[in-house]
Amino acid sequence: MKQPTTPPRWAYKLLTWFHPDDTLEEVEGDLDEMYQYWYQREGKARATIRYVIDVISVLPPFVRKRHKKNAYPHPIFSLSMFRNYFKIALRNLLKQKAYSLFNLLGLSLGITCGLLLTLHIKEELSYEKNIPNHNRIFRVANTEWSKSSPPLAGEMIKFFPEIKSITRFASLGTQVVNTEDDKQGESVGFFADSTVVEVFDLQPVLGNPVKALAEPSAIIITRSMAEKYFGSKDPIGQKLTFENKEELWVRAVIEDRTGNTHLKFDYLASMPTFYNYVSTDWLTNKGWMFGWTYVLLNHPEDVHKLEARMKDFYLSFYAGDKKEEILKAAESARLQPITDIHLKSNLIQEVGPNSSILYVYIFIAVEVLVLIIACVNFINLFTTQALKRMKEVGVRKVLGARKVQLVIQFLGESFLLTCLSGIIAIVLYLIALPFYNHISGRQITGWEIIQPDNLLIVTGMVLFVGLLSGLFPAFFISNFEPVSSLKANKTPRSSAQFLRKGLIVFQFVVASFLIIATVLIYQQMYLFNNKQLGFDKEQIVVAKLYGKFKEKLILNPEVIQNELLKNPNVVTIGKATNRIGDDASVESVVPSPQEPDKEYPSFRVLRIDENYLNAMSIPLKAGRNFSREFSDSASFIINEKAAKILGLKDPIGATITNTTMNIQGKVVGVVKDFHFVSLHNQIEPLLLEYRPWWTGNMFIKIKPGNVPATLDFLQNTIQKIAPGTVFKYEFLDDHVAGLYKKENTMSTLLKLFSILSIIISCLGLFGLAAHTAEIRTKEIGIRKILGATLSNLVKIFSQEFILLVLIGNIIAWPLAWYAVNRWLQEFTYRIDISWDVFVLSAVVTLCIALVTIGYHCIKTALSNPVNSLRTE
């Protein structure tokens, strides 16, 4: 009777797609009926419009969802359910021991790395933070020099009202110290103004350090130094002999300074003591970079006021000099926040070698990467494992578990695992700490971890990792449809597959990035250690000269050297002012007659004796060595670079002037360029002067073989010549290697972390391979029946993984190239990055990956097809 009329198809489709399932049937019917009704009353057009409007009104977000009536209470937090979750979690852990172990191990390794690196970064950032006024203390430096001149401090405090106090440090270095009861040891210290007490907030223990530092021949010592030399005796008024020569009296004891600092000292000698050494006109010399000047401001912001008026200050300070030069100097003046010195300052004659902020960044990056790898691994293994529990999830859902409960269950499980691995990580961390201390040269104790902020970091890290790695599996699993998860083994959804593959690729990006970086950094380190330096660093013992022995040696060099040369294993003994890598004196040297208007860069000056070049095997290019037979005090030897800079075509016999020292003399020899500083820097022009009596270091070339006996001989002979002298020595090659300590530390740490990251990635790959093997058991069974050979199967099985690893590698290449290239810019002498390193990383990761999956691969391929096909 009624013509069956149908509403527009597309609107109907829209309805079936988007309307909630549980009310779809009745709404479809109702709307259909309404359509018929309108169609008959008002015709097709009106009916269609109304239908469309009505459909839209029952689509989300407009439609209200029908909530199922809950006949039973559903407490989210019920104790018995929790007990059940816990039990199931434990059972699962124990049931799949290999998985659980990999999972826990991978995560613990990751967290351990994170802990160590966090601690390292914290240490690096903690420099000077223990000084109460650290945000108000600045060092007066310029763009080149960390030191400044003696009169600067006094003038600055008069000129700037914002300065509360100002203090100077002059270097004294490590010294051998003797007490009157002949206790001996080495201690480090400086000369300092009495204002140091105020600026660095030194706490007096005994005596008055402020008064003490104003007296001549007085020193103040730290509590630990007092205990070292005097034990329970009262140290005040005691005499300490420095370097067997200088006698100073202890006037005060201060509290030990805690925390990291670039200014480490056991004692401070008073400035008036220092004044005794130099003539008064030197103390007013505005060009002499004598020591480090630190200002304490009233307010941290005052530094801007100081900077703004620096030009005016320089104009008054250097009044009388050329105006352009003063302005240029003012331009280069800097006030360095004391907290920046350790990480950001790399000037000439720093107090000691500083670190670099670059390394802090690198370590932060590595830490984040390793943590992410560990998380990714955890996600991967946890999801794979959870896929096997689809049935459990299905049953739970059928029995009325809500999604929230499942999320809580799985999130809880992942937290349980992360907490466990957090505990393991702390144990691993305690085991690893001695190694870390060894590598980085710090003394961190295991108890440091109990400090509240470190505990907070650990907890934070565990929670973060737990949340990050638990969140995805929890939501992924709780979304399973109960019906499909209860049906027979279904392969997991492709989206999850894709994600897990993506994660594997990511892990290998990181792993091969780290491999490439490690290899390239290693190559650079190899270059440092093996580059031809222009001298022979092997078999040379370097000893510092001091005290009575030095006096005798300077007075009677022949006699004493002959005494030492009696041993056939001692080849040559040379002397010089500086060791390789030490900051040599910077002086200005010009040819005479000087070309007008030509500027000459400053020279490095080394004072040596006639044997130094022989001992170091530095070849002469032209001319002759210094000799006792000539009077050579006004002769010079220069290096090739210096000859070029001075524009001397025929250097031998040319006259040049050291204007700093005001000496004119003839060039008698030219040495080949040699690296007298570290390879961070280029070879600078060098001037060698013959001043055996100024030298402070002895270079003893010895024969290889029976080195301990030779050293014993040297020690005994020196003791005989000057009793009470400690023979402090080191090998030149060790000393040269020490110049790259910063890079070495990083290289070693990076090596460790790249190995770790590879292990963690492999754990992940192993898990994934196991899972794939399980899923594909039947497929492989069928293939075997159809005649596939073992090699066929292995190929089929492994090609997927090989692809993932290769993709990871290819992504890592440009990243690694960019990063290492940036790092290499730090050095003047650097390696070329060659392509074979990249291929190497690919080969290495591939091999490791193949070995990892090989076990499952072969196991599956060898299994009897009957078994795999029969199981359902």
């Binding site: 009310t23 049937e25 009745e26 709404v27 479809e28 019917g29 109702d30 709307l31 259909d32 009926e33 309404m34 009704y37 409007i53 009505d54 839209i56 009104s57 029952v58 407009f62 439609v63 209200r64 969802k65 029908r66 909530h67």
Partner: protein, 112 residues
């Protein structure tokens, strides 16, 4: 006095369910509403209100048997629950009380 809150639309639709007496489902409710009050509502509004009333416990619903009508799709019938009828009576009682409190002249003024 415990009062159940009923919105104006909810009250209307609840009344329609009472009027239809067992024959109430989406289509009949919206048609009745249109006939008696002249209001044309989208179907979604009616649908949502019915669900809300059910959540509040004023109506109960059950699916009717399958018929040959409308492609065999079942209808969801709504019936008034005791709580629903109580709510309607409450509303009416309240209105009556309020009406009685209105002074007669006030209405006359308004009516003019």
């Amino acid at each position: 006095m415990r009062r159940t809150y009923l919105g104006e639309l909810e009250e209307m639709i609840l009344l329609m369910v009472a009027i239809l007496d067992g024959e109430a489902y989406g289509v009949t409710v919206s048609q009745q509403l249109e006939q008696h009050t002249g209001r044309q509502l989208t179907f979604g509004t009616v649908h949502n209100t019915l669900i809300r009333l059910e959540e509040k416990g004023f109506v109960a619903s059950h699916l009717g048997g399958a018929t040959t009508e409308r492609g065999g799709r079942r209808k969801r019938f709504f019936t008034l629950t005791a709580l629903g009828s109580r709510a309607l009576q409450d509303v009416q009682e309240l209105r009556n009380q309020l009406w009685q409190m209105v002074p007669p002249h006030a209405l006359q003024v308004n009516g003019l």
